[in-house]
């Protein structure tokens, strides 16, 4: 027994406490870098070798040291895998020096892994499974206890292919659970969904069926040496994920959409309420405040924007109302929303039918493809039925496993993660997901292999022969169905939209007049839309002295608008602001100008415009306009406008989003 040195004991306990502290516990799960893990291991080894360390501290330290080594080994295995794949992929494209560099890196990582293997069986097993070592493969999987007795050769090959596939996937989940580094992506994604639900205090149990399906199927396929089936599934999954690159993962917009306005009692307060709840849209551009709404928005204030509500009142989206006010006080633009500041207002009525994704047309498209979409669920539930519905004893075990997964969510350590403000949302999700994965590994993978969770040979055979091939086909069918769905929705957007617009214009130095326009919009190509409109302006009270008639002018506009993709200046990852451009031509005939010297009745404009978003809420608009005259002066001119525009609402939203993402 070592001599007890109080100082060493205290120092050792302080070091261990520090390693167990919440901040570092977070890091150990997700945010810790490989370097930090190495540093922690070096420190722990120092404590272990210190003669002054007491037995109890040493025992605790060794347990933690083994855990750190396992985590580091999992990372090294992944790095080795990735580097080997990279080397194979780039073979022939690398210079001799580059090949040598990779080779040295591989050797270094391998040496480090071999070093970790000394005296640690689970790491030795992990290295053997990943086929990165020349050492003899061992028999167990993962770092959790296992009584698996499958032949070593089988074991060595059965975990390699899938892991390699994960390493080469640029869309693979980042989470690698140390207890189950080869967990299939579907299992990790399901565990992450359950973790998201747990962190948000929502139901997790709806994910445990999929968790059971993916874990059992994976285990059975690996044990039967049918990694080819898993490989095919991984490829399908990657194809699907690549297709869905447009999907955003982030906090709910509902949490981020509030605006903070310096409110004023009365009308502004009511407006503020409607804006806060999304019933009225507010935009400030220069010295103009724009408020717009649709009557439909007010029907959602009570019961929310449900599909039922849309079915009942969706027709109200045909009508749009908008008003522009001259801003008096920039600090409180909403205070300018009064009659005396009203610059103009307009009403628009959409004449063409609803083509939103909630329209009847889109529902009909869904109806056509839903049977194909459902095939994946059919395969999964049919496997669960055929495996567990005829064996009460096995079903009892399955229920116990599900109950234990539910039990995981009640563990104080998990609840502590949820309420730990020192953790980011992503860190919480990863830590909780890892708990679910480890529980699935212990109860299902190890259980199937030890026989404590005894899946019958018939069921295993059916999973290999029927379920996994059917699953692959169903995944393909689902992806194809969604492709058709998206294509047909896209086709709908190419149909023209007709709108009738009424504008009441109140120029400060002229007589009020009204514009009545027919607007036409049609997408002509993938990124370009054709917009055309034509209309008449009418004086409310024509002034005969000024030779005004009831019809003030006739105007027609033709414009092509397009986008060239996301702005390269948008460093904020959640902001998808696009670069937009347009070419426009406009002809206007102002009838009264025929009788006014120095004015021109027929006015033509041509304009090129583009808008380059620079940061969230800030953009650089640029335009060049040519006109043969203005309304008031008969003079050709070319005008260039550029500057910076600020959208404070958008800026506030971006800040709120960033705050939510990184509390």
């Amino acid at each position: 027994m070592s001599k007890r040195n109080p100082l060493s004991r205290i120092l050792g306990l302080i070091c261990i406490s520090a390693l167990l502290s919440p901040g570092l516990a977070v890091a150990q799960q997700t945010a810790v870098t490989t370097k930090k893990l190495r540093d922690q291991i070096a420190l722990m080894e120092k404590i272990d070798q210190d003669e002054g360390t007491s037995d109890e501290v040493r025992a605790l330290n060794r347990t933690l040291l083994d855990e750190r080594k396992s985590q580091l080994a999992a990372r090294l295995v992944k790095e080795l895998d990735g580097l080997k794949k990279y080397s194979q992929t780039m073979e022939g494209s690398l210079s001799e020096g580059e090949t040598q560099k990779i080779s040295s890196l591989l050797e270094g990582l391998q040496r480090e892994l071999d070093g970790l293997k000394q005296g640690n069986n689970s790491i030795r097993d992990m290295a053997a499974r990943t086929n990165v070592s020349t050492s003899a493969p061992a028999r167990t999987t993962g770092s959790t206890a296992s009584t698996n007795l499958a032949p070593p050769a089988n074991e060595a090959s059965r975990n390699t292919s899938n892991h390699a596939l994960r390493s080469t996937s640029n869309t693979a989940p980042l989470l690698v659970a140390a207890c189950f580094p080869d967990a299939p992506d579907e299992l990790v994604r399901t565990a992450k969904t359950a973790a998201v639900a747990f962190v948000d205090n929502r139901d997790t149990t709806g994910l445990f069926g999929d968790l059971m399906f993916f874990t059992v199927s994976h285990t059975v396929a690996i044990d039967a040496n049918r990694e080819d089936l898993l490989k095919a599934l991984e490829i399908k999954q990657l194809q699907e994920q690549t297709r869905r690159t447009d999907k955003q993962v982030g906090p709910p917009a509902s949490a981020a959409g509030t605006t903070t306005l310096a409110e004023k009692p009365g009308f502004a307060e009511i407006l503020g309420f409607a804006i806060e709840h999304g019933a009225i849209q507010k935009a400030v551009s220069g010295t103009t405040l724009n408020l717009s709404t649709t009557p439909y928005a007010f029907t959602t204030l009570n019961g929310g924007d449900t599909h039922s509500n849309y079915k009942k009142y969706g027709y109200l989206t045909r009508l749009g109302i908008s008003a522009d006010f001259n801003i008096q006080n920039q600090d409180n633009p909403l205070a300018s929303a009064r009659r005396s500041q009203l610059a103009d207002w307009s009403v628009r009525l959409r004449l063409s039918k609803d083509r939103s994704t909630r329209s009847d047309d889109v529902e009909a498209i869904w109806h056509d493809i839903s049977a194909e979409f459902a095939r994946l669920s059919i395969v999964i539930t049919d496997m669960l039925r055929s495996t567990f519905q005829s064996d009460v004893e096995l079903e009892t075990q399955r229920r116990l496993i599900v109950d234990r997964l539910i039990g995981v969510t009640a563990q104080p350590s998990l609840v502590a993660i949820r309420v730990n403000n020192a953790l980011t949302r992503d860190q919480k999700i990863d830590q909780v997901a890892e708990k679910f994965i480890c529980q699935a590994k212990t109860d299902i993978v190890d259980g199937v292999r030890s026989g404590s969770f005894k899946i019958s040979e018939d069921s295993k055979d059916r999973i290999i022969r029927v379920t996994l091939p059917a699953y692959e086909q169903a995944r393909t069918a689902k992806a194809a169905a969604l492709k058709i769905f998206d294509e047909r929705i896209e086709a709908l957007s190419y149909k023209p939209i007709f709108t009738l617009a009424y504008n009441d214009v109140r120029p400060t130095s002229e007589i009020n007049y009204s514009e009545l326009k027919m607007l036409y919009q049609k997408k002509t190509g993938k990124p370009i839309s054709l917009i055309a409109n034509a209309g008449l302006s009418l004086y409310h009270k024509p002034n005969t002295v000024l030779r005004q008639q009831t019809v003030r002018d006739f105007a027609a506009t033709l414009s092509f608008e397009g986008t060239t993709g996301r702005s390269p200046f948008m460093l904020e990852s959640m902001d998808e602001s696009q670069i937009t451009y347009s070419f426009s031509g406009r002809y206007q005939r102002i009838f009264e100008n025929r009788f006014v010297p120095g004015r021109k009745a027929d006015i033509a404009f041509a304009q090129f415009k583009f808008n380059l978003p620079m940061f969230s809420g800030m953009a650089f608009p640029f335009s060049v306009t040519y006109a043969n005259a203005s309304e008031l002066i008969k003079e050709k001119h070319v005008r260039t406008n550029f500057g910076f525009s600020f959208d404070t609402d958008k800026l506030l939203k971006a800040l709120a989003l960033a705050k939510l993402a990184n509390p």
């Binding site: 994604r189 399901t190 992450k192 969904t193 998201v196 639900a197 929502r202 139901d203 149990t205 709806g206 994910l207 445990f208 069926g209 999929d210 447009d246 999907k247 955003q248 993962v249 982030g250 906090p251 709910p252 917009a253 509902s254 959409g257 929310g304 924007d305 449900t306 599909h307 039922s308 079915k311 939103s356 994704t357 909630r358 529902e363 869904w366 839903s370 049977a371 979409f373 459902a374 994946l376 669920s377 059919i378 395969v379 999964i380 539930t381 049919d382 669960l384 039925r385 055929s386 567990f388 519905q389 009460v392 079903e395 229920r399 599900v402 539910i406 969604l482 769905f485 998206d486 929705i489």
Partner: protein, 115 residues
């Protein structure tokens, strides 16, 4: 029918179970499957109501359901589906799981257990 969790229910032999789905800021792009069979929805129903399925399993066994959903790209991030379940032999109209556009997976399992 009794609710154990939002996704796990205790059912009786012969009981008819009905699933309803309410969509917010998205259309009804959902499917419901039980034990490998697609359960059709009643056309025009609102909230979307699937035809009831009957509990036929023996004691100690389970019917396995799965709701799979889709969110078009244009749906806002706060679009969601909410499930509701009702059994013909009493209980209540239970609030089931919810599925958000921001969830990594848009499918949920349902268990209907016989005691």
């Amino acid at each position: 029918m009794q609710q154990i969790t939002r996704s796990i229910y205790l059912v009786a032999n012969g009981e008819q179970v009905t699933l309803e789905i309410e969509a917010t800021k998205v259309g009804y792009f959902t499917t419901f499957v039980v034990d490998g069979k697609l359960i059709p929805s009643e056309p025009g129903s609102d909230p979307l109501t699937h035809e009831p399925f009957t509990v036929t399993i023996g004691p100690g066994l389970t019917h396995f359901g799965r709701v799979d959903t889709h969110f078009p790209t244009s749906a806002p991030d706060d679009a969601r589906y909410q499930l509701f379940l009702t059994g013909s032999q009493g209980g209540a109209r239970f609030e089931g799981s919810d599925i958000l556009k921001t969830d990594p997976s848009w499918a949920r399992g349902l268990e209907f257990r016989r005691a």
